[in-house]
Symmetry: C2
Subunit: 320 residues, 2 copies
Amino acid sequence: MTSPAITVITGGVGGAKFVEGLYHSVNPQSLCVIPNIGDDDQFHGLWVSPDVDTLVYTLSEHVNRDTGWGMAGDTFATQEQLALLGQEVWMNLGDKDLATHIVRTLRLHRGESPSDVAAHLARSLGLECQLMLPTDSTLQTRVHTEQGELSLEEYFVKHRCAPQVTQVRYRGAENAQITVAAEAAIREADCVFFAPSNPLLSIAPTLEVNRVRQTLHSTTAKRIAISPLVGGKAVKGPTCEVMRACGFEANVFGIAEFYRGLIDTLVIDQKDAEHAHALRKLGLEVVVLVTLMDDKPSRIAFAAQVLSSLDLAPALEAVS
Amino acid sequence: MTSPAITVITGGVGGAKFVEGLYHSVNPQSLCVIPNIGDDDQFHGLWVSPDVDTLVYTLSEHVNRDTGWGMAGDTFATQEQLALLGQEVWMNLGDKDLATHIVRTLRLHRGESPSDVAAHLARSLGLECQLMLPTDSTLQTRVHTEQGELSLEEYFVKHRCAPQVTQVRYRGAENAQITVAAEAAIREADCVFFAPSNPLLSIAPTLEVNRVRQTLHSTTAKRIAISPLVGGKAVKGPTCEVMRACGFEANVFGIAEFYRGLIDTLVIDQKDAEHAHALRKLGLEVVVLVTLMDDKPSRIAFAAQVLSSLDLAPALEAVS
Protein backbone atom coordinates (compact mmCIF):
# COMPACT_ATOMS: atom_id res chain seq x y z
CA MET A 1 0.00 0.00 0.00
CA THR A 2 1.27 3.47 -0.79
CA SER A 3 1.52 6.22 1.77
CA PRO A 4 -1.35 8.73 1.62
CA ALA A 5 -0.52 12.12 0.13
CA ILE A 6 -0.51 14.54 3.03
CA THR A 7 -0.34 18.32 2.78
CA VAL A 8 0.11 20.45 5.88
CA ILE A 9 -0.40 24.20 6.14
CA THR A 10 1.64 25.48 9.06
CA GLY A 11 3.33 28.28 10.92
CA GLY A 12 6.71 28.10 12.66
CA VAL A 13 7.67 26.83 16.10
CA GLY A 14 4.25 25.53 17.25
CA GLY A 15 3.20 24.05 13.92
CA ALA A 16 6.63 22.53 13.38
CA LYS A 17 6.01 20.22 16.36
CA PHE A 18 3.12 18.53 14.57
CA VAL A 19 4.87 18.60 11.17
CA GLU A 20 7.90 16.91 12.73
CA GLY A 21 5.63 14.20 14.11
CA LEU A 22 4.08 13.69 10.67
CA TYR A 23 7.48 13.74 8.97
CA HIS A 24 8.59 10.77 11.04
CA SER A 25 5.24 8.96 10.89
CA VAL A 26 4.74 8.81 7.14
CA ASN A 27 6.87 8.42 4.06
CA PRO A 28 8.32 11.96 3.88
CA GLN A 29 8.26 11.85 0.08
CA SER A 30 4.46 11.87 0.27
CA LEU A 31 4.41 14.87 2.63
CA CYS A 32 4.00 18.46 1.34
CA VAL A 33 4.61 21.31 3.76
CA ILE A 34 3.16 24.76 2.99
CA PRO A 35 4.76 27.22 5.43
CA ASN A 36 3.74 30.69 6.49
CA ILE A 37 5.63 33.42 4.64
CA GLY A 38 3.86 36.36 6.29
CA ASP A 39 6.73 36.98 8.69
CA ASP A 40 9.40 37.11 5.97
CA ASP A 41 11.40 40.28 6.33
CA GLN A 42 14.74 41.91 5.63
CA PHE A 43 17.32 42.29 8.37
CA HIS A 44 20.62 44.04 7.58
CA GLY A 45 19.60 43.78 3.91
CA LEU A 46 19.25 39.99 4.12
CA TRP A 47 15.97 38.19 3.50
CA VAL A 48 14.92 36.12 6.48
CA SER A 49 12.00 33.63 6.39
CA PRO A 50 11.63 32.77 10.09
CA ASP A 51 8.85 30.19 9.79
CA VAL A 52 10.26 28.50 6.69
CA ASP A 53 13.66 28.22 8.35
CA THR A 54 12.21 26.92 11.62
CA LEU A 55 10.45 24.15 9.69
CA VAL A 56 13.49 23.23 7.63
CA TYR A 57 15.81 23.29 10.65
CA THR A 58 13.35 21.23 12.71
CA LEU A 59 12.70 18.57 10.09
CA SER A 60 16.38 18.30 9.14
CA GLU A 61 17.47 17.97 12.80
CA HIS A 62 19.46 21.23 12.68
CA VAL A 63 17.14 23.14 15.00
CA ASN A 64 18.13 24.45 18.40
CA ARG A 65 15.92 22.23 20.58
CA ASP A 66 16.09 24.64 23.52
CA THR A 67 14.51 27.55 21.65
CA GLY A 68 12.61 25.76 18.87
CA TRP A 69 14.13 28.15 16.31
CA GLY A 70 17.63 28.87 15.01
CA MET A 71 20.35 26.27 14.54
CA ALA A 72 21.76 23.97 17.19
CA GLY A 73 25.11 25.07 18.60
CA ASP A 74 25.03 28.35 16.74
CA THR A 75 27.18 31.34 17.70
CA PHE A 76 26.52 35.07 17.34
CA ALA A 77 29.86 36.61 16.34
CA THR A 78 28.52 38.37 13.24
CA GLN A 79 25.53 39.78 15.10
CA GLU A 80 27.70 41.15 17.91
CA GLN A 81 29.87 42.85 15.31
CA LEU A 82 26.80 44.17 13.44
CA ALA A 83 25.76 45.87 16.67
CA LEU A 84 29.19 47.53 16.91
CA LEU A 85 28.68 48.80 13.35
CA GLY A 86 25.42 50.48 14.37
CA GLN A 87 22.84 47.88 13.36
CA GLU A 88 19.77 47.08 15.46
CA VAL A 89 20.05 43.42 16.42
CA TRP A 90 16.84 42.52 18.24
CA MET A 91 16.17 39.77 15.69
CA ASN A 92 18.53 36.99 16.77
CA LEU A 93 20.43 35.63 13.79
CA GLY A 94 23.20 33.13 14.50
CA ASP A 95 26.33 32.70 12.42
CA LYS A 96 25.29 29.39 10.83
CA ASP A 97 21.75 30.66 10.42
CA LEU A 98 23.08 33.73 8.58
CA ALA A 99 24.43 31.48 5.83
CA THR A 100 20.82 30.58 5.03
CA HIS A 101 19.84 34.24 4.75
CA ILE A 102 22.93 35.17 2.73
CA VAL A 103 22.24 32.41 0.19
CA ARG A 104 18.52 33.23 0.08
CA THR A 105 19.26 36.90 -0.59
CA LEU A 106 21.90 36.11 -3.20
CA ARG A 107 19.58 33.79 -5.12
CA LEU A 108 16.60 36.16 -4.90
CA HIS A 109 18.77 38.99 -6.23
CA ARG A 110 19.81 36.70 -9.09
CA GLY A 111 16.14 36.39 -10.01
CA GLU A 112 15.32 32.92 -8.69
CA SER A 113 11.78 32.53 -7.39
CA PRO A 114 11.27 32.37 -3.62
CA SER A 115 9.92 28.82 -4.12
CA ASP A 116 13.06 27.69 -5.92
CA VAL A 117 15.28 29.31 -3.30
CA ALA A 118 13.34 27.68 -0.45
CA ALA A 119 13.55 24.31 -2.21
CA HIS A 120 17.30 24.70 -2.72
CA LEU A 121 17.88 25.54 0.93
CA ALA A 122 15.65 22.70 2.13
CA ARG A 123 17.38 20.20 -0.15
CA SER A 124 20.83 21.44 0.88
CA LEU A 125 19.97 20.85 4.53
CA GLY A 126 18.70 17.35 3.80
CA LEU A 127 14.92 17.79 3.84
CA GLU A 128 13.20 14.76 2.35
CA CYS A 129 9.64 16.09 2.11
CA GLN A 130 8.36 18.73 -0.31
CA LEU A 131 8.46 22.31 0.92
CA MET A 132 6.26 24.55 -1.19
CA LEU A 133 5.61 28.21 -0.60
CA PRO A 134 1.96 29.28 -0.80
CA THR A 135 2.93 32.13 -3.13
CA ASP A 136 6.00 33.64 -4.78
CA SER A 137 4.66 37.13 -4.12
CA THR A 138 5.56 39.19 -1.10
CA LEU A 139 2.83 39.03 1.53
CA GLN A 140 3.49 40.57 4.91
CA THR A 141 1.47 40.14 8.07
CA ARG A 142 0.96 43.57 9.62
CA VAL A 143 -0.03 43.69 13.25
CA HIS A 144 -1.94 46.85 14.10
CA THR A 145 -1.44 47.70 17.75
CA GLU A 146 -2.01 50.57 20.11
CA GLN A 147 1.69 51.34 19.61
CA GLY A 148 1.30 51.49 15.84
CA GLU A 149 1.56 49.07 12.93
CA LEU A 150 4.24 46.40 13.28
CA SER A 151 5.65 43.60 11.18
CA LEU A 152 5.11 40.14 12.62
CA GLU A 153 8.67 39.89 13.93
CA GLU A 154 8.59 43.41 15.33
CA TYR A 155 5.46 42.45 17.25
CA PHE A 156 6.74 39.02 18.25
CA VAL A 157 10.44 39.49 18.89
CA LYS A 158 11.17 43.21 19.24
CA HIS A 159 8.10 43.99 21.35
CA ARG A 160 7.63 40.47 22.81
CA CYS A 161 3.88 40.50 22.00
CA ALA A 162 3.35 43.22 24.61
CA PRO A 163 1.42 45.82 22.58
CA GLN A 164 -2.37 45.46 22.57
CA VAL A 165 -3.39 44.18 19.11
CA THR A 166 -6.27 45.97 17.41
CA GLN A 167 -6.33 44.16 14.07
CA VAL A 168 -4.21 42.09 11.69
CA ARG A 169 -3.76 42.77 7.98
CA TYR A 170 -1.98 40.88 5.22
CA ARG A 171 -0.18 43.38 3.03
CA GLY A 172 0.14 42.26 -0.57
CA ALA A 173 -2.44 39.46 -0.23
CA GLU A 174 -4.68 40.93 -2.93
CA ASN A 175 -1.92 40.45 -5.51
CA ALA A 176 -0.51 37.18 -4.19
CA GLN A 177 -1.22 34.20 -6.45
CA ILE A 178 -1.00 30.63 -5.23
CA THR A 179 1.96 28.67 -6.62
CA VAL A 180 1.21 25.84 -9.03
CA ALA A 181 2.89 23.42 -6.63
CA ALA A 182 0.88 24.51 -3.58
CA GLU A 183 -2.38 24.42 -5.51
CA ALA A 184 -1.68 20.87 -6.73
CA ALA A 185 -0.59 19.82 -3.24
CA ILE A 186 -3.93 20.95 -1.78
CA ARG A 187 -6.04 19.67 -4.68
CA GLU A 188 -4.42 16.25 -5.02
CA ALA A 189 -3.79 15.39 -1.36
CA ASP A 190 -5.55 12.59 0.47
CA CYS A 191 -5.69 14.87 3.46
CA VAL A 192 -4.83 18.48 4.23
CA PHE A 193 -3.84 19.39 7.77
CA PHE A 194 -3.75 22.75 9.48
CA ALA A 195 -1.01 22.54 12.08
CA PRO A 196 -1.63 23.84 15.64
CA SER A 197 -0.39 27.33 14.80
CA ASN A 198 -1.73 30.78 15.63
CA PRO A 199 -4.66 31.03 13.19
CA LEU A 200 -4.48 34.77 12.53
CA LEU A 201 -0.71 35.19 12.53
CA SER A 202 0.50 31.90 11.03
CA ILE A 203 -2.32 30.29 9.02
CA ALA A 204 -4.34 33.26 7.75
CA PRO A 205 -1.46 34.68 5.66
CA THR A 206 -1.57 31.49 3.57
CA LEU A 207 -5.37 31.47 3.41
CA GLU A 208 -5.35 35.07 2.16
CA VAL A 209 -3.35 34.12 -0.94
CA ASN A 210 -5.58 34.10 -4.02
CA ARG A 211 -7.17 30.70 -4.81
CA VAL A 212 -6.03 29.05 -1.55
CA ARG A 213 -9.51 29.12 0.03
CA GLN A 214 -11.10 28.17 -3.28
CA THR A 215 -8.75 25.20 -3.66
CA LEU A 216 -9.44 24.13 -0.08
CA HIS A 217 -13.17 24.32 -0.80
CA SER A 218 -12.94 22.21 -3.94
CA THR A 219 -10.37 19.60 -2.93
CA THR A 220 -11.58 16.05 -2.29
CA ALA A 221 -8.94 15.73 0.45
CA LYS A 222 -10.02 15.17 4.02
CA ARG A 223 -9.35 18.48 5.77
CA ILE A 224 -8.29 18.49 9.41
CA ALA A 225 -7.22 21.28 11.77
CA ILE A 226 -5.32 20.69 14.99
CA SER A 227 -6.50 23.19 17.59
CA PRO A 228 -3.59 25.19 19.04
CA LEU A 229 -5.50 25.60 22.31
CA VAL A 230 -5.29 23.47 25.44
CA GLY A 231 -8.10 24.07 27.91
CA GLY A 232 -8.98 27.30 26.14
CA LYS A 233 -5.46 28.66 26.38
CA ALA A 234 -2.50 28.88 24.03
CA VAL A 235 0.44 26.59 24.79
CA LYS A 236 2.62 29.62 24.13
CA GLY A 237 2.23 32.98 22.49
CA PRO A 238 -0.58 35.47 21.99
CA THR A 239 -3.06 33.22 20.15
CA CYS A 240 -6.03 34.12 22.38
CA GLU A 241 -5.32 37.87 22.46
CA VAL A 242 -5.02 38.03 18.69
CA MET A 243 -8.15 35.89 18.13
CA ARG A 244 -10.16 38.26 20.35
CA ALA A 245 -8.72 41.32 18.61
CA CYS A 246 -9.85 39.86 15.28
CA GLY A 247 -13.38 39.10 16.44
CA PHE A 248 -13.08 35.42 17.29
CA GLU A 249 -13.90 33.76 20.58
CA ALA A 250 -10.66 32.69 22.26
CA ASN A 251 -11.63 29.04 22.51
CA VAL A 252 -12.26 25.98 20.32
CA PHE A 253 -15.44 27.59 18.95
CA GLY A 254 -13.32 30.48 17.72
CA ILE A 255 -10.98 27.97 16.09
CA ALA A 256 -13.96 26.23 14.47
CA GLU A 257 -15.28 29.57 13.25
CA PHE A 258 -11.88 30.55 11.84
CA TYR A 259 -11.74 27.32 9.82
CA ARG A 260 -15.47 27.30 8.92
CA GLY A 261 -15.98 25.72 5.49
CA LEU A 262 -12.29 24.83 5.26
CA ILE A 263 -12.21 21.73 7.47
CA ASP A 264 -14.13 18.53 8.01
CA THR A 265 -12.45 17.53 11.26
CA LEU A 266 -11.16 19.41 14.26
CA VAL A 267 -8.68 17.78 16.62
CA ILE A 268 -9.01 19.27 20.11
CA ASP A 269 -7.19 18.70 23.36
CA GLN A 270 -8.80 16.53 25.99
CA LYS A 271 -8.92 19.59 28.25
CA ASP A 272 -11.43 21.01 25.76
CA ALA A 273 -13.35 17.71 25.50
CA GLU A 274 -16.43 19.23 27.14
CA HIS A 275 -17.01 21.19 23.89
CA ALA A 276 -16.84 18.16 21.58
CA HIS A 277 -20.58 17.67 21.49
CA ALA A 278 -21.35 21.27 20.67
CA LEU A 279 -18.64 21.29 17.97
CA ARG A 280 -20.16 18.17 16.40
CA LYS A 281 -23.50 19.96 16.31
CA LEU A 282 -21.80 22.54 14.09
CA GLY A 283 -21.23 19.76 11.56
CA LEU A 284 -17.60 18.97 12.40
CA GLU A 285 -16.07 15.62 13.09
CA VAL A 286 -14.22 16.02 16.37
CA VAL A 287 -11.21 14.04 17.57
CA VAL A 288 -10.17 14.44 21.21
CA LEU A 289 -6.52 13.77 22.06
CA VAL A 290 -3.73 14.92 24.34
CA THR A 291 -2.25 17.54 22.00
CA LEU A 292 0.85 18.55 23.98
CA MET A 293 4.02 17.38 22.25
CA ASP A 294 7.13 18.62 24.00
CA ASP A 295 9.72 16.27 22.55
CA LYS A 296 10.24 14.37 19.34
CA PRO A 297 8.83 11.01 20.57
CA SER A 298 5.62 12.68 21.77
CA ARG A 299 5.32 14.51 18.43
CA ILE A 300 5.60 11.24 16.52
CA ALA A 301 3.17 9.54 18.87
CA PHE A 302 0.67 12.40 18.52
CA ALA A 303 0.88 12.41 14.71
CA ALA A 304 0.38 8.64 14.69
CA GLN A 305 -2.69 8.99 16.91
CA VAL A 306 -4.14 11.68 14.66
CA LEU A 307 -3.57 9.54 11.55
CA SER A 308 -5.01 6.50 13.29
CA SER A 309 -8.10 8.39 14.40
CA LEU A 310 -8.65 9.39 10.78
CA ASP A 311 -8.28 5.77 9.63
CA LEU A 312 -5.13 6.79 7.76
CA ALA A 313 -2.71 4.73 9.79
CA PRO A 314 -3.20 1.42 7.94
CA ALA A 315 -2.14 3.01 4.70
CA LEU A 316 1.11 4.31 6.14
CA GLU A 317 4.61 3.11 5.47
CA ALA A 318 6.21 4.57 8.53
CA VAL A 319 9.89 5.28 8.03
CA SER A 320 11.03 5.82 11.57
CA MET B 1 53.83 73.57 15.38
CA THR B 2 51.10 71.72 13.59
CA SER B 3 51.50 68.24 12.17
CA PRO B 4 52.19 68.17 8.42
CA ALA B 5 49.28 67.06 6.24
CA ILE B 6 50.21 63.62 4.99
CA THR B 7 48.40 61.66 2.30
CA VAL B 8 49.30 58.05 1.58
CA ILE B 9 48.25 56.02 -1.44
CA THR B 10 48.37 52.36 -0.53
CA GLY B 11 47.35 48.76 -1.13
CA GLY B 12 46.47 46.20 1.52
CA VAL B 13 48.67 43.99 3.70
CA GLY B 14 52.10 45.27 2.59
CA GLY B 15 51.16 48.93 2.39
CA ALA B 16 49.27 48.76 5.67
CA LYS B 17 52.56 48.11 7.49
CA PHE B 18 53.89 51.53 6.50
CA VAL B 19 50.54 53.24 7.00
CA GLU B 20 50.35 51.78 10.50
CA GLY B 21 53.79 53.19 11.22
CA LEU B 22 52.71 56.62 9.98
CA TYR B 23 49.42 56.44 11.88
CA HIS B 24 51.30 56.09 15.14
CA SER B 25 54.06 58.58 14.24
CA VAL B 26 51.95 61.60 13.35
CA ASN B 27 48.75 63.19 14.49
CA PRO B 28 46.26 60.78 12.83
CA GLN B 29 43.85 63.65 12.22
CA SER B 30 46.35 65.06 9.73
CA LEU B 31 46.71 61.71 7.92
CA CYS B 32 44.65 60.87 4.81
CA VAL B 33 44.71 57.29 3.54
CA ILE B 34 43.70 56.55 -0.06
CA PRO B 35 43.29 52.77 -0.38
CA ASN B 36 43.21 50.50 -3.41
CA ILE B 37 39.69 49.60 -4.47
CA GLY B 38 40.69 47.51 -7.51
CA ASP B 39 40.20 44.24 -5.64
CA ASP B 40 36.68 45.06 -4.45
CA ASP B 41 34.37 42.23 -5.40
CA GLN B 42 31.13 40.48 -4.49
CA PHE B 43 31.17 37.20 -2.57
CA HIS B 44 27.86 35.48 -1.82
CA GLY B 45 26.18 38.70 -2.94
CA LEU B 46 28.08 40.77 -0.37
CA TRP B 47 30.47 43.56 -1.34
CA VAL B 48 33.96 42.96 0.01
CA SER B 49 36.76 45.58 -0.11
CA PRO B 50 39.78 43.52 0.91
CA ASP B 51 42.39 46.29 0.91
CA VAL B 52 40.14 48.87 2.53
CA ASP B 53 39.21 46.42 5.27
CA THR B 54 42.82 45.36 5.84
CA LEU B 55 43.78 48.99 6.35
CA VAL B 56 40.87 49.74 8.68
CA TYR B 57 41.38 46.57 10.70
CA THR B 58 45.14 47.20 10.94
CA LEU B 59 44.91 50.84 12.00
CA SER B 60 42.07 50.16 14.44
CA GLU B 61 43.94 47.23 16.05
CA HIS B 62 41.29 44.71 14.96
CA VAL B 63 43.50 42.92 12.45
CA ASN B 64 44.58 39.32 12.73
CA ARG B 65 48.32 39.86 13.30
CA ASP B 66 49.19 36.33 12.15
CA THR B 67 47.76 36.75 8.65
CA GLY B 68 47.84 40.53 8.22
CA TRP B 69 44.19 40.46 7.03
CA GLY B 70 40.85 39.57 8.58
CA MET B 71 39.89 40.21 12.19
CA ALA B 72 41.70 38.96 15.27
CA GLY B 73 40.08 35.95 16.93
CA ASP B 74 37.55 35.55 14.15
CA THR B 75 35.61 32.33 13.57
CA PHE B 76 34.28 30.83 10.34
CA ALA B 77 30.89 29.34 11.25
CA THR B 78 28.96 31.18 8.54
CA GLN B 79 31.50 30.29 5.86
CA GLU B 80 31.43 26.58 6.78
CA GLN B 81 27.65 26.68 6.53
CA LEU B 82 27.81 28.57 3.22
CA ALA B 83 29.88 25.70 1.84
CA LEU B 84 27.20 23.23 2.95
CA LEU B 85 24.66 25.33 1.06
CA GLY B 86 26.67 25.01 -2.14
CA GLN B 87 28.71 28.23 -2.13
CA GLU B 88 32.36 28.39 -3.20
CA VAL B 89 34.31 29.60 -0.18
CA TRP B 90 37.90 30.07 -1.32
CA MET B 91 37.75 33.71 -0.20
CA ASN B 92 38.12 33.47 3.58
CA LEU B 93 35.51 35.62 5.29
CA GLY B 94 35.28 35.33 9.05
CA ASP B 95 32.12 35.79 11.09
CA LYS B 96 33.07 39.18 12.53
CA ASP B 97 34.52 40.25 9.18
CA LEU B 98 31.20 39.38 7.50
CA ALA B 99 29.45 42.05 9.55
CA THR B 100 31.56 44.63 7.68
CA HIS B 101 30.49 43.22 4.32
CA ILE B 102 26.83 42.92 5.33
CA VAL B 103 26.73 46.56 6.45
CA ARG B 104 28.65 47.72 3.37
CA THR B 105 26.24 45.90 1.05
CA LEU B 106 23.18 47.14 2.93
CA ARG B 107 24.33 50.76 2.74
CA LEU B 108 25.36 50.54 -0.92
CA HIS B 109 21.95 49.07 -1.79
CA ARG B 110 20.35 51.96 0.07
CA GLY B 111 22.18 54.31 -2.28
CA GLU B 112 24.98 55.59 -0.06
CA SER B 113 28.22 56.33 -1.89
CA PRO B 114 31.10 53.88 -1.45
CA SER B 115 33.06 56.72 0.17
CA ASP B 116 30.37 57.38 2.75
CA VAL B 117 30.05 53.67 3.48
CA ALA B 118 33.81 53.28 3.91
CA ALA B 119 33.90 56.33 6.19
CA HIS B 120 31.03 54.94 8.30
CA LEU B 121 32.75 51.57 8.70
CA ALA B 122 36.11 53.16 9.51
CA ARG B 123 34.54 55.48 12.08
CA SER B 124 32.54 52.63 13.64
CA LEU B 125 35.74 50.66 14.14
CA GLY B 126 37.48 53.61 15.72
CA LEU B 127 39.70 54.91 12.93
CA GLU B 128 41.05 58.36 13.74
CA CYS B 129 42.58 59.26 10.38
CA GLN B 130 40.71 60.12 7.20
CA LEU B 131 39.99 57.23 4.86
CA MET B 132 39.06 58.45 1.38
CA LEU B 133 38.37 56.28 -1.61
CA PRO B 134 40.10 57.35 -4.84
CA THR B 135 36.77 57.09 -6.68
CA ASP B 136 33.14 56.21 -6.06
CA SER B 137 32.98 54.39 -9.38
CA THR B 138 33.56 50.67 -9.75
CA LEU B 139 37.08 49.96 -10.96
CA GLN B 140 38.29 46.39 -11.05
CA THR B 141 41.81 45.14 -11.53
CA ARG B 142 41.75 42.34 -14.10
CA VAL B 143 44.75 40.04 -14.20
CA HIS B 144 45.22 38.48 -17.62
CA THR B 145 46.96 35.14 -17.28
CA GLU B 146 47.69 32.09 -19.33
CA GLN B 147 44.72 30.52 -17.55
CA GLY B 148 42.42 33.34 -18.56
CA GLU B 149 41.33 36.68 -17.13
CA LEU B 150 40.97 36.77 -13.35
CA SER B 151 39.83 39.25 -10.76
CA LEU B 152 42.53 40.31 -8.33
CA GLU B 153 41.27 38.02 -5.56
CA GLU B 154 40.80 35.10 -7.95
CA TYR B 155 44.44 35.53 -8.98
CA PHE B 156 45.69 36.14 -5.46
CA VAL B 157 43.59 33.88 -3.24
CA LYS B 158 41.84 31.30 -5.41
CA HIS B 159 44.86 30.62 -7.65
CA ARG B 160 47.56 31.65 -5.12
CA CYS B 161 49.37 33.77 -7.76
CA ALA B 162 50.31 30.60 -9.65
CA PRO B 163 49.10 31.48 -13.18
CA GLN B 164 51.64 33.25 -15.40
CA VAL B 165 50.54 36.88 -15.75
CA THR B 166 50.49 38.34 -19.25
CA GLN B 167 49.04 41.78 -18.57
CA VAL B 168 46.98 43.77 -16.07
CA ARG B 169 43.99 45.92 -16.93
CA TYR B 170 41.79 48.24 -14.84
CA ARG B 171 38.19 47.73 -15.87
CA GLY B 172 36.07 50.84 -15.47
CA ALA B 173 39.07 53.17 -15.07
CA GLU B 174 38.09 55.29 -18.09
CA ASN B 175 34.85 56.29 -16.38
CA ALA B 176 36.19 56.53 -12.84
CA GLN B 177 36.34 60.09 -11.50
CA ILE B 178 38.47 61.07 -8.54
CA THR B 179 36.49 61.92 -5.40
CA VAL B 180 36.54 65.53 -4.26
CA ALA B 181 38.06 64.41 -0.96
CA ALA B 182 40.89 62.41 -2.54
CA GLU B 183 41.72 65.22 -4.97
CA ALA B 184 41.91 67.75 -2.13
CA ALA B 185 43.97 65.34 -0.02
CA ILE B 186 46.57 65.03 -2.79
CA ARG B 187 46.50 68.72 -3.75
CA GLU B 188 46.65 70.17 -0.25
CA ALA B 189 49.03 67.70 1.43
CA ASP B 190 52.50 68.63 2.64
CA CYS B 191 53.63 65.24 1.41
CA VAL B 192 52.12 62.37 -0.51
CA PHE B 193 53.46 58.89 0.11
CA PHE B 194 53.16 55.77 -2.00
CA ALA B 195 53.23 52.84 0.41
CA PRO B 196 55.43 49.79 -0.32
CA SER B 197 52.67 48.00 -2.21
CA ASN B 198 52.65 46.06 -5.47
CA PRO B 199 52.78 48.91 -8.02
CA LEU B 200 50.71 47.27 -10.75
CA LEU B 201 48.16 45.49 -8.56
CA SER B 202 47.75 47.89 -5.63
CA ILE B 203 48.87 51.39 -6.65
CA ALA B 204 48.07 51.53 -10.38
CA PRO B 205 44.30 51.10 -9.90
CA THR B 206 44.30 54.41 -7.99
CA LEU B 207 46.62 56.09 -10.52
CA GLU B 208 44.29 55.04 -13.36
CA VAL B 209 41.38 57.00 -11.89
CA ASN B 210 40.75 60.17 -13.89
CA ARG B 211 42.61 63.24 -12.58
CA VAL B 212 44.73 61.30 -10.06
CA ARG B 213 47.95 61.55 -12.12
CA GLN B 214 47.14 65.14 -13.05
CA THR B 215 46.62 66.07 -9.40
CA LEU B 216 49.87 64.31 -8.44
CA HIS B 217 51.66 66.28 -11.17
CA SER B 218 50.31 69.62 -10.03
CA THR B 219 50.42 69.25 -6.26
CA THR B 220 53.05 71.22 -4.34
CA ALA B 221 53.34 68.31 -1.90
CA LYS B 222 56.61 66.46 -1.56
CA ARG B 223 55.97 63.08 -3.24
CA ILE B 224 57.71 59.99 -1.88
CA ALA B 225 57.46 56.32 -2.81
CA ILE B 226 58.64 53.51 -0.55
CA SER B 227 60.05 50.71 -2.70
CA PRO B 228 58.36 47.38 -2.00
CA LEU B 229 61.55 45.54 -2.97
CA VAL B 230 64.36 44.34 -0.72
CA GLY B 231 67.50 43.33 -2.56
CA GLY B 232 65.58 43.23 -5.84
CA LYS B 233 62.94 40.87 -4.47
CA ALA B 234 59.44 41.28 -3.11
CA VAL B 235 59.03 40.76 0.65
CA LYS B 236 56.00 38.69 -0.24
CA GLY B 237 53.78 38.18 -3.26
CA PRO B 238 54.20 38.38 -7.03
CA THR B 239 55.48 41.96 -7.33
CA CYS B 240 58.45 41.07 -9.54
CA GLU B 241 56.53 38.68 -11.81
CA VAL B 242 53.78 41.21 -12.39
CA MET B 243 56.26 44.07 -12.99
CA ARG B 244 58.00 42.00 -15.65
CA ALA B 245 54.70 40.99 -17.26
CA CYS B 246 53.81 44.68 -17.52
CA GLY B 247 57.14 45.70 -19.09
CA PHE B 248 58.99 46.97 -16.04
CA GLU B 249 62.37 45.80 -14.79
CA ALA B 250 61.86 43.84 -11.59
CA ASN B 251 64.15 46.05 -9.49
CA VAL B 252 64.35 49.57 -8.06
CA PHE B 253 64.79 51.00 -11.55
CA GLY B 254 61.46 49.45 -12.51
CA ILE B 255 59.95 51.05 -9.42
CA ALA B 256 61.47 54.41 -10.38
CA GLU B 257 60.13 54.02 -13.92
CA PHE B 258 56.64 53.12 -12.64
CA TYR B 259 56.56 56.31 -10.55
CA ARG B 260 58.30 58.51 -13.16
CA GLY B 261 57.04 62.07 -12.92
CA LEU B 262 54.91 61.22 -9.89
CA ILE B 263 57.58 61.25 -7.17
CA ASP B 264 60.46 63.40 -6.00
CA THR B 265 61.94 60.88 -3.59
CA LEU B 266 62.34 57.11 -3.58
CA VAL B 267 63.01 55.26 -0.34
CA ILE B 268 64.90 52.04 -1.03
CA ASP B 269 66.11 49.24 1.15
CA GLN B 270 69.78 49.16 2.13
CA LYS B 271 70.09 45.89 0.23
CA ASP B 272 69.45 47.96 -2.91
CA ALA B 273 71.85 50.74 -1.81
CA GLU B 274 74.25 49.98 -4.68
CA HIS B 275 71.67 51.50 -7.04
CA ALA B 276 71.26 54.77 -5.13
CA HIS B 277 73.78 56.67 -7.24
CA ALA B 278 72.23 55.59 -10.53
CA LEU B 279 68.75 56.46 -9.26
CA ARG B 280 69.93 59.94 -8.24
CA LYS B 281 71.25 60.41 -11.76
CA LEU B 282 67.64 59.92 -12.91
CA GLY B 283 66.78 63.05 -10.93
CA LEU B 284 65.38 61.38 -7.83
CA GLU B 285 66.22 62.06 -4.25
CA VAL B 286 67.05 58.69 -2.73
CA VAL B 287 66.76 57.64 0.90
CA VAL B 288 68.34 54.35 1.93
CA LEU B 289 66.87 52.60 4.98
CA VAL B 290 66.14 49.16 6.37
CA THR B 291 62.60 48.86 5.01
CA LEU B 292 61.51 45.58 6.64
CA MET B 293 58.86 46.16 9.28
CA ASP B 294 57.55 42.94 10.72
CA ASP B 295 55.95 44.22 13.87
CA LYS B 296 54.28 47.39 15.05
CA PRO B 297 57.34 48.90 16.81
CA SER B 298 59.47 48.43 13.68
CA ARG B 299 56.73 50.00 11.56
CA ILE B 300 56.59 53.05 13.80
CA ALA B 301 60.39 53.26 13.85
CA PHE B 302 60.55 52.99 10.06
CA ALA B 303 57.91 55.67 9.52
CA ALA B 304 59.74 57.95 11.95
CA GLN B 305 63.00 57.40 10.07
CA VAL B 306 61.33 58.20 6.75
CA LEU B 307 59.80 61.38 8.14
CA SER B 308 63.08 62.37 9.73
CA SER B 309 65.00 61.81 6.49
CA LEU B 310 62.55 64.15 4.77
CA ASP B 311 63.01 66.78 7.49
CA LEU B 312 59.39 66.29 8.46
CA ALA B 313 60.04 64.92 11.91
CA PRO B 314 60.49 68.24 13.73
CA ALA B 315 57.03 69.36 12.71
CA LEU B 316 55.37 66.28 14.09
CA GLU B 317 53.18 65.96 17.12
CA ALA B 318 53.59 62.25 17.63
CA VAL B 319 50.69 60.74 19.50
CA SER B 320 52.10 57.41 20.51
